[in-house]
Assembly symmetry: C2
Homo-oligomer: 355 residues x 2
Amino acid sequence: MSLTPLVQSFIERCMVAVGTQPHHAHSLAEVLVEGDHRGHYSHGLNRMDMYVKDVQTGICAKDGEPVVEKDSPATALVDGKNLLGPVVGNFCMNLAIKKAKEVGVGWVVAHGSNHYGIAGYYAMQALKENMIGMSFTNTSPLVVPTRGKECTLGTNPLSVAAPANNGDSFILDMATSAVALGKVELHERRGDSIPEGWGSDAQGKMATDPKRVLSGGGLVPIGGSEATGGYKGYGLGMMVEMFCGILAGAQYSKYIRTWKVTDKVANLGQCFVAINPENFAPGFNDRMSDLLSVHRGMEPADPDAPVLAAGDPERMHMKKCEELGGISYHLNVVNYMFCVIYQWALCTAPLLPEL
Amino acid sequence: MSLTPLVQSFIERCMVAVGTQPHHAHSLAEVLVEGDHRGHYSHGLNRMDMYVKDVQTGICAKDGEPVVEKDSPATALVDGKNLLGPVVGNFCMNLAIKKAKEVGVGWVVAHGSNHYGIAGYYAMQALKENMIGMSFTNTSPLVVPTRGKECTLGTNPLSVAAPANNGDSFILDMATSAVALGKVELHERRGDSIPEGWGSDAQGKMATDPKRVLSGGGLVPIGGSEATGGYKGYGLGMMVEMFCGILAGAQYSKYIRTWKVTDKVANLGQCFVAINPENFAPGFNDRMSDLLSVHRGMEPADPDAPVLAAGDPERMHMKKCEELGGISYHLNVVNYMFCVIYQWALCTAPLLPEL
């Protein structure tokens, strides 16, 4: 039995129960299920309660559609109207793809958006049209810049997807922090130390005790300390902020609401790009496939750990889901979502349909 | 006395002496001097001998102009005609800026190019028009992908420049390897060990002995080992390759000629992008200035090491040059260039003018 349609429908019905438009709820459910399917459980069902609460409290808009505020052949500025992130993201990415078909590139940015799930979801939409896709979002401050001791940047993810032959592709989907906050939390819960280069303490010193990172410290940018090139990751995080909050005129940097504090409209900035390889040298997919083969076919340092290309870990997870006949969830997530949230939604929305 | 005009003119005359068109020699000299001026000595005068040799041996073209092979409102594919990298780079970046003025974005890629100096030089051209600029290039294989033990990617730099108020700007100009090869070489020469996370040995294991990195090993991507997020840097290196060799139909990955082996045409791929902030939310420069101020104004972890923004180390170097009345070069570089190379060029080009 496949769990996927059940989860998709569960998320949709929870969101509709608190007043979300059914097609908006559908968009959100698709992105969250895709997150779980690709193994990014931190960006899937696990986060549904945040979206439910945001709509229920009125912090995120229930209804309406994004609006194009400014338009040119290759660009658009979109007001996300404080709608769910995936509603804004789909609107912008479709527009970017349309522009790329017409003039080769589409570059669309949105303000007034909310958390949009995995960045890769939007970049991957371009693959369906055999195009290169990119997506960026700013997020609540969790990252301490090199030499600093205060969180002024989010994990600011970027995603780039490029098509190869026979449905194969390169899919980079990464935060510009060394690791996600969830990884540090997991180590703390287990009582494990973390490797040097994941986070720093409240004094801005690299920490190996996850508790010190979680109490007044923060994540560090990719590259870790200054000596190992952390300033590059810091620069990449700033680049994402520039394409999102700064270019779109949204909230940015330390002004974005604190992570998990949802008493304030998020007004996130997001950026969506489509590039049509047909406008460049013929044979893009062939070369892309060869580039992937060069890497996957390399002799690995450890025979048990093959060299992968970006997107391969997710592919392996999806294959596992197929073999299992569905996405496997940790019992705690299922319990929490299917019992606590369901009950909670039920109180405020007696029309919530039965599972 | 300012050394800059002297060095600029010296480079130009050396290049012209081996047959380069004067305006091409001028373009190269400008990029190399700018590299030195910004403190990136590895990409300045220090590399002139490579360009002189490439032209003298006929591996790089002396004459001609880049040609637009394919054109659309927002894009162009350029054949660099095997000309000097800066000649191709200036041509493409100017075209990208022109397109961004017309349709909001210009995305131009070139095949048939050569080493183009610092990537930031091209991205920064966009600042003159108050635009965002980007530049990417592939390079000879020096980087070992995560889990691998063979170099299949170059240091594949990326640069992103964005304007702020009063001539201030954000200028990210970074290799996607943790560090440049030159840094490892420098430590080896001094007999120092290198930090974990800079390079790996011939078996793909992280090495702290620079000799092991330089003899059959390679640089590692930003992020270092797999545990500290090196796969993200590896993904970024692949992204740069995708925008360069793959999109432009140039040489790519392990097929690019070995570093410092110049018996084969380079056929590098490069990518140049301009984005016009006027097509997006009003007030871009104000927000950009504020984002820079938020970071520069932060209380640093160490009072003696202020928090910087991308481009600030270069700004500090340029200020030092101003105070000194010119760019300071290491005596060895001056000796090598002004004596050995000059003499060597003289043998084959008796018309080389006196200094």
